[in-house]
Assembly symmetry: C2
Homo-oligomer: 387 residues x 2
């Protein structure tokens, strides 16, 4: 396999409720920003993460559509779906494509336009990431599934309501320094706990928002990056791991343990020849506050049950031992489901380039991403390193 | 890149209106048949072609779901979408995965359950393969788009109504020898022309049907196939090509020319170091009778405009110079959109193994597949050869 580098990154200007822009236009905006950042004049192939173009905007055949509107057709363009991990998996397929030698310069993008349907239809579309026959049929949606995980974690490990809220407080603090975010404001523990209840114990401030947004990154062989793309530090993708778990929560041995996250992380560490202690900065999938706590445990940053205490003790703050979600995470940045995994790669690339401004982690050389589908039915991780 | 072979093939027992079976069960049935055929006891990764699980059965996150229900979790499982070319592209991603060295034994599958919603909802779901903003918005659906192509072809080249009908007659004749097919009966030119009009000049017998169905194939490195999987002749994947075109028909220079098919074919011939004249048997994407005529021209089997005459002269019959759609094609076999591209690989593998019974093409050593999305917005081809 060839070594692979990230040479370009881009998002559409701001994530949020983008009534005046369409699915295709926000993708093109993000992709052009990535192309400009990489200073390239050709692309050999595209992979696009998108969870449900069909239910959100009545559009499938998304690879072809977006190559057409970006003006890169007739190149191969393929849509990848794994619910909220669609973006991370589009990046992984782009990585495999370049590593195989099939393509040289590949765009990995993600896009979701979630606000063009009414709220009920959005909740329904998102619920299709769960088991339709055994979970959705009975009426449960994602806040309910993660609330069960939260209650189990609190019961088993004594994780506190305040610790959950502290995840939101930390991520909104980080996000207040990221103007691209949907909700770049700070909050506090009382505000999180006293906001509208969604599914006990999760309030609306424990939940990531519904968002329109797109992101794109450009990959190429490491040798080519070193030779031709010298404007930025060369960032190599040194590890990629993907794993699945039972799609339905009731089939798991332990509600508090995300085994797909654990396995995708282990496979990524193994390929990269790194350990959790080697990671300088990490973006994890905080679709709900409890998800960040579970993910940081499953990735081996903390012992099982110690994730809540870690966030309480500021271990995961920008100045902490292992900064988590310096971008503001899904909580503050927004969560256009197909785009989230790509935006995680963008944040880590910026951190490793030293371009994160007020959010910069000092001396960040090795960064990691973890992108999750459903209630942990799939997870994909990557480790990037400055070369 | 490593050389890659196909070592296992399977479909669910019969394609058609499978009211008593669910999306997940028909996939598992097909996958188990492929696993049995390959005689393997492990899989490293899965790629699943599915066009619109969201709109047809309210289920996304399809890779995770199907790995879970097949019992292959926690392996990586990724859903690939490119409208009706989803299956062919799932096969291509599996090919790239094995070729890269990332995975050894990979299952490429395809599945669509199209009959669990009412007819209007099926037509709407299929229309999302066209340009939602510029085509679907105005009410056109796929029979209308292909009828425009047919009229343009008849006007430009003098292709006749009988030649269109002859595609259906040939494919149903082939399909009458394929008991897995949804419609394994023979027909004649008068019956095709006099059946219910759908979009002039296309009658219902010019259209592929709406189908529930699944298919799966197993890939591994060629060296491993030669060493361990000796029950069948070794079938190597010697070429893979993928291309896109404008998703909307009105953006094309020539309605009669499928340029994504041409380019995907050219890229495949180049990788395989073969020419159209080297191909012994080919499965093309006959979603409508006119589509087969256009595809055979774009793949270089016939000059532009000569595809209608070729079918009239039996050049594409099983005993002809270049047998096309020996399986019965989408017309007779059925067209569960995500599964079609995988079933094409299955037919060609059977032909190259010499296992096609009454449909067997004599001395078939090199076979090709061509799988199309939308009205030609994407196309993916493969060439397989007996080793």
């Amino acid at each position: 396999m060839r070594d692979v580098a990230v040479i370009g990154i881009g998002m559409n200007e701001k994530w949020g409720e983008l009534w005046e822009k369409s699915f295709r236009t926000i993708f093109v905006e993000a992709a052009l920003n990535a192309i400009d950042d990489a200073k390239i004049d050709k692309i050999d192939a595209m992979y696009i993460g998108c969870m449900s173009g069909g239910l959100f905007v009545g559009q499938e055949h998304i690879g072809s559509l977006l190559a057409d509107y970006l003006g890169t057709g007739p190149i191969p363009a393929t849509r990848i779906e794994s619910a909220c991990a669609s973006g991370g998996l589009a990046f992984r397929q782009a990585f495999i494509d370049v590593a195989s030698g099939m393509s040289d310069i590949v765009l990995a993008g993600g896009v979701e336009k979630m606000l063009d349907v009414d709220g009920g239809a959005t909740t329904y579309a998102l619920s299709t990431a769960a088991d339709q026959e055994y979970e959705c049929f009975h009426g449960i949606t994602f806040p309910g599934l993660y609330a069960m995980i939260a209650n189990a974690h609190m019961h088993k490990y004594g994780t506190t309501r305040k610790q959950l809220a502290q995840v939101a407080v930390k991520n909104h603090k980080n996000g207040s320094m990221n103007p691209r975010n949907q909700f770049p404001f700070e909050t506090d523990i009382d505000s999180v706990i006293n906001s509208v209840m969604i599914a006990d114990p999760l309030t609306i401030m424990d939940c990531s928002p519904v968002t329109d947004g797109a992101a794109a990154v450009i990959l190429c062989p490491l040798d080519l990056a070193k030779e031709k793309f010298k404007d930025h530090p060369v960032i190599q993708v040194i590890g990629s791991g993907h794993a699945t778990d039972s799609i339905a929560l009731h089939s798991r041995k332990d509600l508090t343990w995300l085994s797909a996250v654990e396995l995708s992380g282990k496979n990524t560490y193994k390929m990269a020849d790194k350990n959790p202690s080697d990671i300088d900065v990490c973006e994890v999938h905080d679709c709900f506050t409890i998800a960040e706590i579970c993910a940081t445990e499953a990735l081996g940053f903390f012992e099982p049950g110690k994730g809540g205490m870690a966030v309480q003790d500021d271990v995961t703050a920008i100045e902490g031992k292992i900064p988590i979600n310096t971008s503001g995470g899904l909580k503050s940045k927004g969560h256009p489901v197909g785009a989230t995994g790509i935006a995680q790669i963008l944040e880590i690339t910026e951190q490793l380039r030293g371009d994160s401004g007020k959010r910069q982690v000092k001396d960040a050389k090795i960064g990691m991403t973890q992108n999750m589908g459903g209630s942990g039915g799939s997870s994909v991780c990557h480790i990037l390193e400055v070369k």
